[in-house]
Symmetry: C2
Subunit: 372 residues, 2 copies
Amino acid sequence: MLSNRFDPRNGAALSSENGCDGTPAPRRPTISDVARAAGVSPSTASVVFSGKAKVSDATRDRVLAAASDLGYAGPDPLAASLRTGRSGIVAVVLEGALRRTFLDPVTIATMDGLTDGLASAGADVLLLRDEPHKPGGAALTTAPIDAAVLLGCSTATRESLDIVRARRLPLVVIEGDAGDAVPQITLDNAEAAAGIARHVRELGHREVAVVTLPLDVGRRRGPVSPERLARATVAPAIQRLAGIRGVFPEARVLSAAASSIDEGVIAAGTLLDADPRPTAILAQSDMLAAGVIRAAEDRGLRVPEDLSVTGFDGVRVDGLGAHMLTTSVQPATEKGRAAGAQIAAMLAGQAGESVHFTCRFRAGSTTAPAPR
Amino acid sequence: MLSNRFDPRNGAALSSENGCDGTPAPRRPTISDVARAAGVSPSTASVVFSGKAKVSDATRDRVLAAASDLGYAGPDPLAASLRTGRSGIVAVVLEGALRRTFLDPVTIATMDGLTDGLASAGADVLLLRDEPHKPGGAALTTAPIDAAVLLGCSTATRESLDIVRARRLPLVVIEGDAGDAVPQITLDNAEAAAGIARHVRELGHREVAVVTLPLDVGRRRGPVSPERLARATVAPAIQRLAGIRGVFPEARVLSAAASSIDEGVIAAGTLLDADPRPTAILAQSDMLAAGVIRAAEDRGLRVPEDLSVTGFDGVRVDGLGAHMLTTSVQPATEKGRAAGAQIAAMLAGQAGESVHFTCRFRAGSTTAPAPR
DNA sequence: TTGTAAGCGTTATCAT
DNA sequence: ATGATAACGCTTACAA
């Protein structure tokens, strides 16, 4: 028997003969095969494909023709990656199920910007869930990635963070709790939320309620006690609430289980059926605000005459109708793009740095002077 | 000068001395370093990490200790990939911008199922846009992937398809136009749509209009002429329309520019302000149907008393209110899971096969006998 | 402009 | 249970 060694290309033991007809097992052509067929050296052929050096037209044509002849589809990415030390892949680590993550328009916008910013570095995005203790080992430890971005992760991600550090991969954290040395993309959540609150106070509102984003991975719906707040982990939710509390320390606060219209409806239901009824409801996202408006209108309340409603994010909410939400517009896409740019810089050998973004208050048609 | 060869690990020329302090340039430990430190052979160390053979406890402990000592984070995925011929990555090729793709709840559900189905094969998902003629070469040709899934791609993807074929990668197409030999995940769009249409006809409706999904990559909003339909490329839209036309050949047909509530509102606006006003509107997605309902209610029309509305998909539409949509429920998550399972099978050396799914009609509260 | 040579770090096989 | 060996396919520095 001539050869029975393992051949990764075929994923199984390769014997010198095929099972039935004596034909040699089909082996994929390599760049050396192409070079040989073209009568050039492997390095020349390599350069033809990478374009990293000048090659005479005649040579290039011969190489390309040989490649086409042999059905060679270009350099094997796996081998090229090992040689260059780069896979061209950046992991985006998401907390929780894909389904939930991508239900949030802000996340989608951020992902959009991220892929965009990464594209200029020639990198693509690998979707990874934050589940380090998965049976069979975490994908984060074995995936051929050049860098990682932690997106929308609360402290639950500590473990993922350690893995990335152990692998010494460039890392950027978007609005998460990452600590010291890691470049972060941040937002002025507290200030922006305070700005909204001030607007509402200036309109004369005193009976105000708040609907927050989920505060932790538990995502429990309901009133936010001091104890609960102390255990909260989701930075944006905590910060926005702090901003509001600076203006309305006594506001009643309810947590939603997700950033969705339906959750807004549920929370507003509780708030609007209470006595005294708030004259303004500050929601921590535009999706929640849309739900609050829906709940108000279902009860025959007019927005903004009977109830003022504010949001946060400044995203286009599909199905909000004619209302123009009073909100604070965050540069969601820019956040992602900035993360991508930092990754690109770090991959290019530069130091990554944190980037801070600010929101822009936008007065809409959903707030008005408090009824008296 | 002892050495000035290229070192992929550091991404730059490696000199025998560091720039300032004479310290040797820090080199990452390899599995051989770990093996040496533990006093075992590299193959033994490898087996400790892969678990693919029995190792005595004492040996394993020594290796692990050495690894921990040296700060070794595990086998280099790039090198392991080259050796095994597997990267553990499957590309999902999407048509158009991420932002648009992920705005569709059906796509999200399918992605959810796909990642799920792939997880059992130990594979993760690389997001790739369908743009083969991008400057710098298509990512699809150079990405270290084991297989590819084409999701929601019309014929525009022919080129991507060719690349995947040239690379001889396992491929599955979800509801797309891929031709013969490629395993496909399909849906009984025509039959399911016909079923909805029959339900509406049995309720006595004769004046019926249709709101379709985008018909091609142009995604133009407006009336669907025979010429336009002839140039349509989006299979589900075409098939669903065919199903409806079998029941209501004369129905007025409007195409939406996306599958969203707002687009439904726009299309329904045109239809409801026309004379004669339809007594039923068949939307090709639940999102569109939600918009149709919204538009109707905005005009003071009651659903279903004055207007019957049907959808397609059976997804939970955030903010649909109390209505229970009459629709056809498609197994969106299952479609993705099936695609993942086929990829897994092909990666395991088995033949991939097409999988056909059927929708289930669901009568809701948005259809009623035609007003007379 | 092209060729030569030396690995990149790992893991499957086979022998012990 | 462990070790020696031989690839995996490519890209780069350097010489010609």
